[in-house]
Structure formats: structure tokens, C-alpha cells
């Protein structure tokens, strides 16, 4: 068992639990600050400090084990800035970041975002790529972001890092990544009705005929 402090109040919980499980063990019926419980959704951003230590740490509560004398405050919501745009009209030029998220140019290079990232991403680096209009690099560097918002909560320049990364990724996916010829061709075939006859034919098969086909189908190596 270890002692933890939820919003300052002391509870004794098994040392093997994650922070989320420890809160529930203590009796909390959670509505906020809990989501996928697998480290993908960013709902359970949490700030903590171990008693006697200087450093303030951030984590996902579902992915982090409790420690003795851990002071815990969840961050279920943080007011991030989201600028609306039309993905069909924007272009992957430097101007778009300047228009939508000009505050990224106010970055003072303190690196608090990177230090606090719950996914261990190099956040300040991907913001630097965004400043320079290098969206593919920004997209790659920010790809594993779960948008928990901890980075933004620590930023003295008021940058909304997760939205910057998301914009860079959408620009990359739509405009910068190479086009997929085989996809365009197949869509054209479907729209021209070229796949229809084979589909109608297989839909007419009896269950027995289908089973026969299924059990004897060939596999791509």
C-alpha cells in the first residue's frame, strides 16, 4: 500500500494500481478525466508532484502507476484554441499557420512543452517545424499526440500545440503525401460499375457454394 493525495486529500491504495484505478479504489465514480483507459484518448491528463521533490510532472492517469506520497491533480479540461478552417480551401503554405496560429512565433524556446509531454514527444521541435512551414516533418514528429493538452497548460506563449500538429497532419495527408494511383483507379472502377457484376454474382451464391469458395480460396503470400 502507498499513500497518495487526491486534490490534497490523503488515501491509502495498493501500490500496483494506476492513478485512474487508485481514484476508483478510493471511491470516486469518475465522469470527467477518464476515457479509453488505454493511453489513446488523452482524457486523463494529470499533474503530480512527489512530496519533497521540486519537479512537477505530467502523465496520463491510465498509464501511470501510483507512487508513495504522490500529490495528484487531474486536468480533465484545458481551454485550447481551435481555429476553424476549410480543408478544401487552405493550402500547405507558411501563411496558413501565420493566419490561424500566429502565437507559435512567440515561442520563447523554454521547452516546457516537451518536458511535460505525456507521450514523450519532442513538442518544441514540431512547433519549430510548423513555424518554418515544414509540415511533413511537423506531422511525423507530432503523430503520436493524444491531444491531452498538458503541453499547452505549461506554455508561457499560449500556444495550442495539439491543434498545430493536427493542422500540419491534415495538410500533409491531403496535400503533401503522394497520391495513391491504385486507390483512384479502384474508385473509378466502382463508380463506373465495373465491380458490380462480380459482386452481384457472389451475392447470388447459396450458403453451400459460398462455403466451398471460402474454404478453397487462395491467399496472397
Amino acid at each position: 500500500m502507498v499513500n497518495i493525495y487526491l486534490y490534497g486529500k490523503k488515501y491509502e491504495v495498493p501500490a500496483s494500481l494506476t492513478i485512474i484505478n487508485a481514484m476508483e479504489y478510493a471511491g470516486y465514480q469518475l465522469v470527467r478525466g477518464v476515457g479509453c483507459r488505454c493511453g489513446f484518448c488523452g482524457a486523463c491528463a494529470t499533474i503530480y508532484r512527489i512530496k519533497g521533490q521540486q519537479e512537477l510532472k505530467a502523465c496520463l492517469a491510465c498509464q501511470t502507476k501510483v507512487e508513495d506520497n504522490m500529490y495528484i491533480a487531474t486536468l480533465p479540461f484545458f481551454p485550447l484554441v481551435k481555429q476553424p478552417y476549410d480543408i478544401k480551401k487552405v493550402k500547405p503554405t507558411e501563411q496558413i499557420m501565420m493566419q490561424l496560429y500566429p502565437e507559435i512565433y512567440a515561442c520563447i524556446g523554454c521547452n516546457a512543452c516537451t518536458k511535460s509531454c505525456t507521450q514523450d514527444l519532442n513538442v518544441m521541435q514540431y512547433i519549430a517545424y510548423a513555424q518554418r512551414g515544414e509540415y511533413e516533418k511537423c506531422a511525423e514528429e507530432s503523430f503520436d499526440c493524444v491531444m491531452c493538452g498538458v503541453c499547452s497548460s505549461r506554455c508561457p506563449a499560449g500556444i495550442t500545440h495539439p491543434q498545430v500538429g493536427l493542422l500540419a497532419r491534415r495538410l500533409t495527408g491531403k496535400y503533401l503525401a503522394p497520391e495513391t494511383q491504385h486507390l483512384l483507379e479502384r474508385v473509378a472502377e466502382i463508380e463506373a460499375g465495373d465491380c458490380e457484376a462480380a459482386l452481384q454474382d457472389i451475392m447470388k451464391k447459396t450458403a453451400e457454394e459460398l462455403k466451398e469458395m471460402y474454404n478453397n480460396r487462395d491467399f496472397e503470400k
Binding site: 514523450d120 491534415r170 500533409t172 494511383q181
Partner: protein, 539 residues
Amino acid sequence: MYTNEMLESIKKVEATREARLAAVRAGNHPRRMTAEEKDQVLLENHPDHIKSQFAELVIGPNKGEKVPLELAEILQANPRVKSGDVDLTKIDYDVDVLIIGGGGAGSAAAIMAHENGANVMIVTKLRHGDANTMMAEGGIQAADKPNDSPAQHYLDVMGGGHFKNVPELVYKLVNDAPICIKWLNDLGVMFDKEADGTMVTTHGGGTSRKRMHACKDYSGAEIMRVLRDEVQNREIPVVDFTSAIEIIKDENGKAAGALLMNMETKELLVARAKTVVIATGGAGRMHYQGFPTSNHYGATADGLVLAYRAGAPLLYAHTLQYHPTGAAFPSQIFGALVTEKVRSIGAQLINADGEAFMYPLETRDVCASSVIRECRRGKGVETFDGGQGIWLDSPMIELLHGEGTIEKRIPAMMRMYLKYGIDMRKQPILIYPTLHYQNGGIKIGENGMSDVENLFVAGEAVGGIHGENRLMGNSLLDIIVFGRNAGVNAAATAKNTKTAEKLTLSHVDAFVKEMADAGIKTDVVSPKLLPNYTNQKPI
């Protein structure tokens, strides 16, 4: 960190690894099961076949059919409010299309309804994007390569579902698949591609062609965050932390809105709509048969309860998917998903004796049953609290495809295990089946409408698309295909529907009477909305 016993067991896995790798390099994978062997392993080991875990429904549209005990309990339960407690003349929200659920299906439906000119609103009980979609790791299927075809995809889907799938729905699924990949690509989803634009595709369990498209192992997260961003760009209203607790109907018995409840203040709100889309997702948090789950916190089958009370029949509600590879160790991630992609890119399933006891990419139901059988035979590895697991030999991946493959292709998995001191590049990981997917759900027609007029359904809440077992990568596909479909048709139907003059919950009163007449006495209220893990052994 592994126990000493586990480390001893790993030595047996390592002892056979070189020989197994050599066989795979020579094209010799462990043998696939015959159709008869599959039938047998399913019958003897799959949780769907344990009769004592099912109850017969005594009221409602599926009266006489069997469903899991836990589902029967909430389908035949008390509503959260009595109809007399609510003033339905006081309308809080008035829209064309009301979408219940803010996951992938609901968001796709919202975008398409908006695209088609409808005034649309999403209501979701947690945050927008808190959904199983966000957690889908492995990928999305589409027959878009020259050696593949929608008809070939159709055959795989039907076989995987034991030929119980609704053919018209499967047709739509496979035919629209490439169109949906293009739609996502054009919205800015970053699929894994070669330098020339060719999609990087792999096998999934039960696929005959490599048609699994992916975005690393964040496939669902990437799709979900793009769809959410698009909903926000279109400024579609999202009412979060608000659950739907009943479908509201008009005087003619058509769906005409929903009764909502603020999850924090418990305030009741009335939403009136011309059409309603249920996109509430799955049921992993019901923990059927005591299984852990890979699902989101909110996966409590709410949509099935709402629809059933409104008179919509379910289809195949007795079939659940247990994903063969849930994390069996350490306890902190018990039941969390270990993506099928780990096997797609080369890891084998290995028992305590170091044997590759099966072909690793059988369909999920067969694979899960085979893992359970292996443990019953005493070939499992002890985990904690009396549990067992089987090794998933992840170091094979880098030995087959080169150093760095794991970090590049399955970074989320690597990260999850590293947090507990396990480096899956160097050591195998322990897995056991976890409750993953609701194969059955609400019955729909090709237009996405249930048997209740103007009540549409999309996503995991639908039954019939996947028959009795879904293949990997067909769920991300289904939420996009049928989410879009529901959005388009709900918007079109709304155009021809007048705003309801009188709203009613009389069907709820009728259901309560039916319960009383059948002699059902219960304290259970539903929809369940959230699981309760307080002061208990956490699952």
C-alpha cells in the same frame, strides 16, 4: 517487469525462435486449421457457446431469443425516468438530425448530414471523440489493390462471419470501402504509404488479400481526430457530457428526438428532431462473463437499450467478439488491446513449451478459442490472481523485418509496454482474450434505418454486417461506410418530414407495463451509461 517464472518460460520461447524464424523465411507458417477443426475449437472453447451465460428475453421485439445475462438484465430493466416526470412540451434543442454518440460513426454521420444541408447536432455522454474508434489500432480494410476486388473482400467477410451476415449490408461495406478510404485521405488522414503513394497494406486474421490500411498503430485515433476536427470546422454543435436516456416518438410512432440527461448536473433536456441516428457504440464495459475489456469507458450498450424500448429488434445480440490478444500482464494493462497488427507483421503465438501451436492469423473467434484451449490444456503461463496467458513472440518482428520496425509500425504498443519495464523488441509479451466487440446489435435496412421509422443506426450499435464474427479492420470501415450512409439518409428523410407537433414517451410506459405483465421485478435501471468500479477490485 516479468517474474522469475516468466523469465524461465521465455527461455523456452527463445530456444525455438531460430527454427521458427527459419521456417517462416522459407514460407512455412504454422498450419491453418481445417473448417472442421475450426468448428470444433469454437464449439468447445468460445464464450458464446457457454449456455449458462445466456438468458432468454421474455419481453420486447426479440422475445424468446437468448442474449448474454448482463445484456438481458439491462434490456429488461426500469427506465431512468417515468414519462410523467418530464414536460415534453418544453423543447431545449430543435434540429433536423439528432446524432446520439460522438465517436467515428456519429461524426461521419454528422459530417454527411451537414454536407447534405441538414441542421444537425451531436449529443455525447463524455467528450467528442471518447469512443472505441479512438482506440482502434490495427487498420481499416478496403479492396483497392490490383490483385484484390470488392467481391474477394465480400467472400472474406461472409466466411469470417460464418455466413450469417446480411448480404445487402456486406455488399455496401465492401463496395463503398475504397470510396471511404479516398474520402478519409481527402480529409487529410495520414495513411501509411510507400514513396510512390502505394498504400502499405498487410493481412489481418481471415483475410485472403493484404488489404489492411493503417496509420501506424494509431489508425483509429488518426481517423477520429480528423473527423472531430472536421465536425468542429463545420461548426456542428456538439453537446458533450450529456447522455440520451430515451428515444422520443411522435404521435404516429416515428422517432422524433431523445430525452437527454446532463451527466454532471442530472438535468433533463428534451431534444426534438425529424430523424435520429443512434451511434452509441459497443458494450465492452458490460464485462460479459467477467472478461476484461479493450473498450472505452462508455461502452455500455446504451443504444441497444434505447432502441429495444422503442420497439426496434436486435440481430445477433448473442455474439460477442473476444479479441485473442488482450494484455494478460502486467495487471495495470490487463485486458488492454494488443493490436492484431503485431501478428500481421510477424509475431507468433507461442505456448509455455515454446511451441507455435497455431497459425497466428486465423479469424478472431477461432484464434481466441484456440488460446483459451491452450491454457485449459495446461500450456499457458501463470500471470497474476490465478490468471493465465500465452506468449506473443514480438521479437520475431524485428528479426524478420529489421531493427526499428516495431517503433515505426506499432509505436503505441511499444510505448504501453515500456511504461512497465517490458521492451517488446527484446522480450515476448503475455496475452489472453479480452472482450472487444459487439458483433450483434440493432437490425437495420440498407438505408441505415431500424424497424422504427426515422430511427437510424450506425457503427458498432448495428447488428448483421459482420454476422457472428467480425474481421480485423472491418469495424473502422463499417463506422465510416454506415456512418456516412446514415448521415445522408437521415438528412434526406428529414427533408420530407414535418417537425413533430406532439412528442411522447408512451412507448416507455407500454414497455414498463409489458415488464409488469411478464412478472419482471428488478431494481436495475438502464441505460447503464457508465460502469461502476468504485471500491471494487478494478477490472
